[in-house]
Symmetry: C2
Subunit: 226 residues, 2 copies
C-alpha cells in the first residue's frame, strides 16, 4: 500500500516513517523547505529517508517566510529555557501559522497524483508545544477535507486515511518505540535554533522536550548540545 | 474588516473581489504561481487587483507542477470542444489535485499573520467543471479545519469565516452581478490554454463556460477568442 509520509528530519516523523515501513508501506517521504530557521533539518530528513528505505523523497519549496509571523520563519527570537509548565499556557511564538494545514494539503495533492491511500504525520498532543494544529480534533477535520475535496470522495472510493500513530504518546514512549524499530536518532535534528549544522542549542522548547524524552526513556541521547 | 481574497485573474474571483470591496472589506489579494499552463492569468490578477483597490496583492510561488497530475500543470493536453452535458460526467483532466485545499490552506496561513477575519473564494457549484473541491460540503469541512487548526480556535475567538458568495450562482448571474459592480471583465482571463497572452482559445471548458455566461447574461463579451 502506498503512503505519503511527512518527514521533517526530527525525532517524531522519523519514528512515524519507521512504523509505516514496519507495517509494510511503500513510503513516499515529503519534506518542506519553508524558510525555516533550522533548514539544516532537511539534511537529517534526507539521511533518515535513506536509512529507512523510502521509495522516493521529495523536498518541496514553500516560502512561508514570505509572510513570517513565527519565530521559525521570521526575525523573531526563539524563546529559550522556558519552564515546561508554561508550554500549555497559550500558543508560543514558534507556532507557524497554519503550517500543518499547509503541509497536509500538499501531502493530499501528492497523494492524489501518486494514488496513495494514506498520509502519515508525526503530530503529538502530549509532549508538544501547544500548537492548535497538532490536536486530534484538527486531524479529524482535515480527514473530512481529504474525503470531500478529492477525486476519490466524488467517485465514492474509500479515499485517503490520515495516520497519526504518535498522537497520544509521550516523547519517551515515542523514543522507546522508535529505538525498538531501529531508528538511528543520531541522524535526526529537533533544534529550532541550531548554532551550527551538527549542534543542537539545548535550550529551545524542542531541545528541552527531546532531552527529557531520552532521559525518561532511559536511552542514551546521541545529540550534541551546545 | 480585513479579508484575504483568492484571486486567480479569472472572471469569478474578480467578481468576488468586487463584492468584498462593495461590502467594505480591507482586501488582501492572494494569487498563486503554481506552474499553471496559463500563467498569463497572473497579469490579469494584477490588473484586477489594482482596478478594484486592494490594500495588498501577493503572488505566492507553489510549484504544483513538481508532481503534475493535471492538464493544467503537466504535459497532458487540455480537452477542447467538450459537450457541456459531459462536464458533469466524472472529473476532467483539468482538475488540479487538491488545489483548493492547498490554496485555502495558504490563505489561512496568511490570514493568521494578517489577523484577517475572512477568506473569500470564487468557487461555484453551478456552471463549473465538476471539481470535487468546489462543492459546498468541501468548503464546510475546510471551515472546520480553519476553526480547529488556528490560534483563534484555541483562544476561543470567533476565528475565520470562509466566504463563497458565488456558490449557487450561474455564470450569467455572476457576470450580471459583477457588471453591476463595475468589474471590467476585459481585464480578466479564463482560458486554460491561451494561444498567446491576450487571446483566449475559445474551446477549453473554461472558455466555453465564459462565452455561454456572457451570452446568457446578454452582456457584450469583451474577450478576444482565437
Amino acid at each position: 500500500m502506498k503512503a505519503v509520509v511527512l518527514l521533517s528530519g526530527g525525532l517524531d516523523s522519523a519514528t512515524v516513517l519507521a512504523i509505516a515501513r514496519k507495517e509494510g508501506r511503500d513510503c513516499h517521504a515529503l519534506s518542506f523547505r519553508y524558510g525555516q530557521r533550522h533548514e539544516v533539518e532537511l539534511d537529517s530528513a534526507k539521511r533518515v529517508a535513506s536509512s529507512l528505505g523510502v521509495s522516493n523523497h521529495l523536498v518541496f519549496d514553500i516560502p512561508l517566510d514570505k509572510w513570517g509571523g513565527s519565530a521559525l520563519t521570521d526575525t523573531i527570537e526563539v524563546p529559550k529555557d522556558r519552564d515546561e509548565a508554561s508550554f500549555s499556557e497559550g500558543i508560543p511564538i514558534t507556532y507557524v501559522p497554519a503550517r500543518n494545514t499547509v503541509f497536509l494539503a500538499l501531502a493530499l495533492a501528492w497523494s492524489e497524483v501518486l494514488e496513495a491511500n494514506e498520509i502519515w504525520i508525526g503530530v503529538n498532543a502530549m509532549d508538544y508545544s501547544g500548537y492548535p494544529d497538532c490536536r486530534p480534533e484538527f486531524l479529524q477535520a482535515f480527514q473530512e477535507v481529504a474525503r470531500l475535496g478529492t477525486k476519490a470522495g466524488v467517485e465514492g472510493k474509500s479515499g485517503l486515511t490520515i495516520r497519526a500513530p504518535l498522537q497520544t504518546m509521550t516523547k519517551a514512549e515515542i523514543i522507546s518505540l522508535g529505538a525498538g524499530l531501529g531508528v538511528d536518532y543520531g541522524l535526526t535534528r529537533s533544534c529550532y535554533d541550531p548554532p551550527s549544522a551538527d549542534i543542537h542549542c539545548g535550550h529551545c522548547d524542542s531541545c528541552l522536550l527531546r532531552m527529557k524524552g531520552f532521559s525518561e526513556a532511559g536511552i542514551v541521547d546521541p545529540t550534541k548540545y551546545a
